[in-house]
């Protein structure tokens, strides 16, 4: 490193962050034995704690399970549930199942996207909202369905989209 003082600062910052991830990861790993069938449950818990899968956590996890990093990364990218980037504090999920589709979920998704200024799969720059789609939420009889922070809103219409944000803001 050319400039030792800057280098040191960066180093310290990274180390602190690393230590924080390591500490929380250790708390998670405490209740696991270290066999491969625990990989998905651990990743699920990591995501629950961090909101996504930090690269460092996946590397440490690979060591813990004695698996190549590529295997952990491969599983992390295979399943739709796992995110590799931080998500917003509020997660709005629009169901894109068949019943919702024939009852107009595409328009609902477009309206929410318009109001938030993002597309499905994206997060607002202030990390306030993430917009996601799900293949089917299984509440087809109440289609179309939007799930905001695990609260299910059934029989949605384009004009009711604003209500979701009002409720989340409360």
């Amino acid at each position: 490193m050319e400039n030792p003082s800057i280098g040191q600062n960066v180093q310290v910052g990274v180390t602190n962050q690393e230590a924080a991830i390591q500490k929380r990861l250790n708390e998670i790993l405490h209740s696991y034995k270290g066999s491969q069938d625990e990989l998905i449950p651990i990743l699920q818990q990591v995501q629950q704690v961090f909101g996504y899968l930090p690269e460092l956590a996946m590397k440490k996890l690979a060591k813990f399970l004695k698996l190549p990093e590529s295997t952990v990364f491969g599983v992390g990218t295979f399943y739709a549930q796992f995110k590799l980037l931080p998500t917003g504090r509020n997660i709005i999920r629009v169901c894109r199942g068949t019943a919702c589709h024939v009852r107009g979920s595409a328009q609902i998704l477009a309206e929410i996207g318009k109001q938030l200024g993002i597309s499905a799969g994206e997060t607002t720059p202030d990390l306030e909202y993430s917009l996601e789609t799900i293949a089917c939420f299984g509440s087809c009889a109440l289609a179309p369905v939007v799930v905001a922070n695990n609260k299910v809103h059934g029989r949605m219409t384009v004009t009711k989209v604003g209500e979701i944000f009002n409720k989340e803001a409360q």
Partner: protein
């Protein structure tokens, strides 16, 4: 405690509740009920009852299947038949409390129906309503009747009777009984359950597994969720019986992470089983050992396929492998494994308790028993239904479902999700059984039944399914990975006005080769929506390709908006709202949409005041008389 003692206690608890002198209120608290606002209703109930100091027992129950009427409650006053009220709002709930709970007017104008002995003037019996009359409840026997978080309720209603009986039989006798019942896999493929068990039973080995497939991934299907939320023990009992018959000591439930309530109910159920000695190292004192673990899926449709599911349980990417070896020979961790779907397991417990002959009394010659469907889409009474095999689609749609809203025309019924196909209106009298549906080009599938009316474009909805399967294809085998992508590309072209003559033939050719050459069920069935939509709705493809027209007005690229000069008042609302400034005009000038700038968003169509209705949505040629440039208003205001 022996099972007999447990049963006696449970029945006593149940009877005490039934004969209670206080009012009982059952409230549907499945995911559907909650989504419709059941929690708000429960709040009103709790507040008002506390305020007025009325003693009641409130019991959260699962889904009775009348999802269209959610939020739904059942009010039971001592000595009277119970009364169901649906489509509740907090205001209606307050009225019912005042009129029926405090006074004695059951409000026939609000009531759906009654259940139990006796009648109430002006209220029909619930099970005589057209929505319920054709139904037979075997798998869903307890849903909506019992508290799914109380094992005593299940036991008091005949629960674990089947297990007790099975443990007195030899494993082979149990398998024979299932064979005799004619039960076939309810996950979709329809393989005979008894024969599947026999394969796994006959493979030597000390370590065997049973798996419950609760990875209900078909968009448009929620039968298994409702069943697990409403009656988890029915499924768990079936698994125990299967494990005993096959010789498995360990079981897994692979369930979608998107079903948090079902997972929670399963965990509660398993804990209660442990307390009652119904799971563990010495079940019912018989020496039979069995343990169950819950594995949450992480969002991959392909994991509904047996070999992919096992890979996922083992902690790997959920990719299928070629069969043989079949799971019965080499499954989870290379051990003999038997996988059945949620609904199949729930039928097993009923069959053993009541006998194979009783069960085989329902259904057709080759498809015995009943089938659960989630009836959704463009249908008046959406919901979860259980019907005897052999019932016609017409009966399901018009009797149970109450037809199509707004008197629209039926176009097709879609069964089997992305693996199934479209059944056109002309085949509405088709009986629902495995063979008939396959012959029509669709499949029974796991039970999604989506009603499609004239407002749905068949090419667009086929594209919708292919978008799904293409995204969910795991990428292991080329026919599926590239075939679904190529089919989707062609469908996108057709719906966006770039279709060419010969596209339909190319689609058919691709579909046949993906169907014939893919590694697993996902790829083998992904072409079904393409093949059936071409088979029955080829004219819609031609319309898109040749005329660049979408008569259902769903394909945005084939739609244009115009402003009718004889209706426009020059009010400027549309021009102000247009997000791309594509509308020219001025005060008292007929507005004109610049078609090159227009993005077909439809906002002008929505904001044009209804009394003018000057904006029209057209697919096909431009209407005559539309000016090129704004002209003074001609219409009288």
């Amino acid at each position: 405690m022996s099972f007999e003692e447990i049963k006696e206690k449970a029945i006593l608890q149940w009877k005490t509740m039934q004969q209670s002198e206080s009012i009982r209120i059952l409230i549907g608290m499945g995911t559907c009920g909650r989504a419709a606002g059941a929690e708000d209703i429960l709040d009103v109930l709790n507040q008002e009852l506390a305020k007025r100091n009325i003693q009641t027992d409130i019991l959260p129950v699962g889904c009775i299947g009348l999802c269209y009427a959610e939020p739904l409650i059942e009010v039971i006053k001592p000595g009277k038949p119970s009364v169901f009220y649906g489509n509740l709002t907090p205001e209606l709930m307050s009225e019912i409390i005042a009129d029926y709970l405090i006074a004695d007017n059951p409000r026939p104008d609000l009531a759906l129906g009654t259940r139990g002995e006796g009648t109430l003037d002006g209220i029909p019996k619930l099970f005589d309503l057209p929505v319920l009359k054709p139904q037979v409840r075997i798998s869903l026997r307890n849903c909506g009747n019992i508290d799914p978080e109380n094992i005593a309720h299940y036991i008091a209603n005949g629960g674990y009777e089947g297990l007790a009986k099975a443990l007195r039989m030899k494993p082979q006798e149990v398998i024979d009984e299932i064979k005799k019942s004619g039960l076939r896999g309810r996950g979709g493929a329809g393989f005979a359950t008894g024969i599947k068990w026999q394969f796994c039973h006959d493979v030597p080995g000390d370590i065997k597994y049973v798996i419950c497939n609760a990875d209900e991934g078909d968009p448009g299907a929620f039968m298994d969720r409702a069943l697990l939320e409403g009656d988890p023990h029915a499924v768990l009992e079936g698994m125990l019986i299967g494990a005993y018959a096959i010789g498995a000591l360990e079981g897994y439930i692979y369930i979608r992470a998107e079903y948090p309530l079902a997972i929670q109910r399963l965990r509660i159920a398993i804990k209660q089983m442990e307390e009652y000695g119904l799971i563990g190292d010495d079940i019912m004192g018989s020496g039979f050992k069995f343990h169950i673990k819950i594995k949450e899926g992480a969002g991959a449709f392909v994991c509904g396929e047996e070999t992919a599911m096992m890979a996922s349980i083992e902690g790997r990417r959920g990719m299928p492998r070629s069969r043989p070896p079949f799971p019965a020979q080499s499954g989870l961790w290379g051990k003999p494994t038997n996988i059945n779907n949620v609904e199949t397991w729930s039928n097993v417990s009923a069959i053993i308790a009541k006998g194979a002959e009783w069960y085989a009394g329902y259904g057709t010659e080759k498809s015995k028993g009943t089938k659960n469907f989630s009836l959704v889409g463009k249908v008046v009474r959406t919901g979860l239904i259980e019907v005897p095999m052999g019932i016609s689609l017409r009966e399901i749609l018009y009797e149970i479902g109450g037809g199509i809203p707004e008197n629209k025309r039926l176009k097709a019924i879609q069964t089997g999700g992305p693996s199934g196909g479209f059944i056109p209106e002309s085949l509405i009298d088709l009986p629902v059984d495995y063979e008939s549906l396959t012959q029509a080009g669709s499949i029974m599938g796991s039970g999604g039944m989506v009603v499609i009316d004239e407002d749905t474009c068949m090419v667009d909805i086929t594209k919708f399914f292919l978008t799904f399967t293409q995204a969910e294809s795991c990428g292991k085998c080329i026919p599926c990975r590239w075939g679904t992508k190529q089919m989707l590309d062609i469908l996108v072209d057709i719906t966006e006005g770039r279709g060419k003559p010969g596209d339909v033939e190319l689609l058919q050719e691709l579909a046949e080769s993906v169907k014939g050459n893919s590694l697993c069920g996902l790829g083998q069935t992904a072409p079904n929506p393409v093949l059936t939509s071409i088979r029955y709705f080829r004219d819609e493809y031609e319309e898109h390709i040749v005329e660049k027209r979408c008569s259902a007005m769903q394909c945005q690229a084939l739609i244009s908006y115009y402003i009718l000069p004889d209706k426009c008042q020059g009010c400027m609302i549309c021009a102000r709202n247009c997000p791309v400034q594509a509308i020219e005009g001025g005060k008292r000038m007929v507005h004109v949409i610049d078609q090159d700038k227009c993005i077909n968003c439809g906002i002008c169509f929505d904001v044009c005041p209804p009394k003018f209705s000057a904006v029209v949505k057209v697919s096909g040629p431009k209407p005559s008389g539309i000016p090129e440039k704004p002209i003074p208003v001609v219409a009288k205001s």
